[in-house]
Amino acid sequence: MSSSSEVVIRAQHLAKCYQLYDNQHQWLKQTLFGSFKTYYGAFWALKDISFEVRRGESLGILGRNGCGKSTLLQMLCGITRPTKGELWVNGRVAPILALGATFDLEATGEENVMIGGAVLGLKRPEIRSKLGAIADFAGIGDFMDQPIKLYSTGMRMRLAFAICAHVDAEILIVDEALAVGDEAFQRKCFDWIDNFRANGTLLFVSHSSAEVMRLCRQAIWIDNGRVREFGRPVDVARAYEKAIKVEADDMKRFSAT
């Protein structure tokens, strides 16, 4: 691992509250008279999250559906702001949140690479020069010139990962995106991530503890908007697995207070 110990991500007591409205009238009232009375139900997706990631580290984030993983990732990417708490991020972040979010079904693979690359912050000549490498990595052959709508799900995913793999990010955020590809492609992605970890920082989000143990040096387990466990992936994963077996699926998880 890299010997540098510079902190690239530091989160302190992050919390995120979403305002849920019964209807648009409540929203309008809140907008107009919000300073006098509250008209919404508060839903705390994250309650208190603190952690640090140093350069070259790889952190796995475990948690069940609705525990706040995606909200945390959105915050790390600067897409949404924390309601409370503080967050420092230092470096170029490449989110692989929903692979292919920018894909236009009517456009060809090549056109989508141009757009996807631009959205991830690459300059036009840079993308052009990487076009060949991206096509090779995706390994979808002549389909690069075909509209994306003709692609299979796996092919789309391959192309999307290939784009993300070529943006020279310093911080890579992977959101259980690798589950779609076949074995061979998954191995290719994991190999690439292994390489990437040599000088980049990785945040890997999943509800599969096996993948987290495979890829990460450290792990946190987020439960109900809080960090429930933090430490070596093996320990965190064991506690997580155990809890899943014992605790029933809580039906009230998604309700506002």
Partner: protein
């Protein structure tokens, strides 16, 4: 960072911010603009022919409908029978540019919700991109108008050279308007319905088919409060009549555009923190 504290420096930074952002994201703007332009006629064999056909047809229709019969308003000398058609066409170009933006802006951020929620996307550039897209079609219609005038009148007025002075403030005004409408539209769909209701009515509050000179003084003032009147008057003066627009109307229009542009930007920045959470 002492300079940061100065009010002057702060406002200079604010005024420069939209341009700085546009410059930083220029490659992204171009990439998405190209896609949007391609998208419009994708799947059609004729493609861009349609972009020319629509304005051409409407120009022909106006020429046939009004060409022979109508006199130019405000007693200007009609130098060719199609002057009145061009007079209307000038008004329509400006109004269509506006209405295309007004209809699209409220749903603009919803269209791009994937980008906004899942990537680090500079949402404030969407207004710029969509204005540029509409500007492309306006440009086509405008060139057609000039070609038509050249064909029938044999020459263009020298004032046509001043067109950028009309076009750039118009772009600024519409970008500002789109910032405002799109931010409001992200929070409530009512913005969309409001624009669908108001925009067609606005056509009658805008001198597309007539000249404000033919109205009573009170109505005239009300008419000039509408910024579109200014833009329509100016483009007619420059292209159809070949004269310089009045100083008062020009400065009023310019003033409104500048105010709309930065107010819109300020409004968008103010609300954007919440946008990713609501769309």
């Amino acid at each position: 960072m002492v300079a940061d504290r100065g009010l002057l420096a702060a406002s200079a930074r604010f005024f420069a911010a939209p341009f700085k952002s546009a410059w930083t994201h220029r490659d992204l703007i171009v990439a998405i603009l190209r896609r949007e332009l391609r998208e419009r006629f994708r799947g059609s064999a004729a493609g861009w022919v349609w972009a020319v056909t629509a304005p051409l047809l409407s120009l022909i229709t106006y020429t046939v409908a009004f060409g022979g019969s109508a006199k130019l308003p405000n007693n200007a000398v009609a130098s060719s029978p199609i002057d009145y058609a061009l007079f209307i066409f000038g008004g329509l170009i400006a109004f269509n540019f506006f209405s295309e933006m007004a209809y699209r802006a409220p749903s603009l951020l919803h269209e791009y919700s994937h980008y906004i929620k899942q990537t680090m996307f500079p949402a404030e550039m969407l207004a710029v991109i969509s204005t540029l897209r509409a500007a492309t079609y306006t440009g086509i219609a405008f060139v057609l108008m000039l070609a038509c005038q050249l064909f029938f009148a044999g020459s263009l007025h020298w004032t046509v050279l001043l067109i950028p002075l009309w076009f750039i403030p118009f772009l600024a005004f519409l970008t500002g308007l789109t910032w405002m409408l799109s931010a409001m539209g992200a929070f409530t769909r009512d913005t969309s319905y409001l624009m669908m209701t108001v925009a067609p009515l606005l056509m009658f509050a805008t001198p597309v088919f007539f000249s404000p000179d033919s109205l009573s003084p009170a109505m005239k003032i009300a008419m000039y409060a509408n910024i579109l009147t200014g833009f329509i008057e100016i483009v007619r003066d420059l292209v159809v009549f070949g004269r310089l627009p009045g100083l008062l109307i020009t400065s009023w229009t310019l003033f409104l555009s500048v105010v709309t542009f930065w107010f819109g930007y300020w409004f968008f920045c103010k609300t954007r923190a919440g946008i990713a959470d609501v769309i």
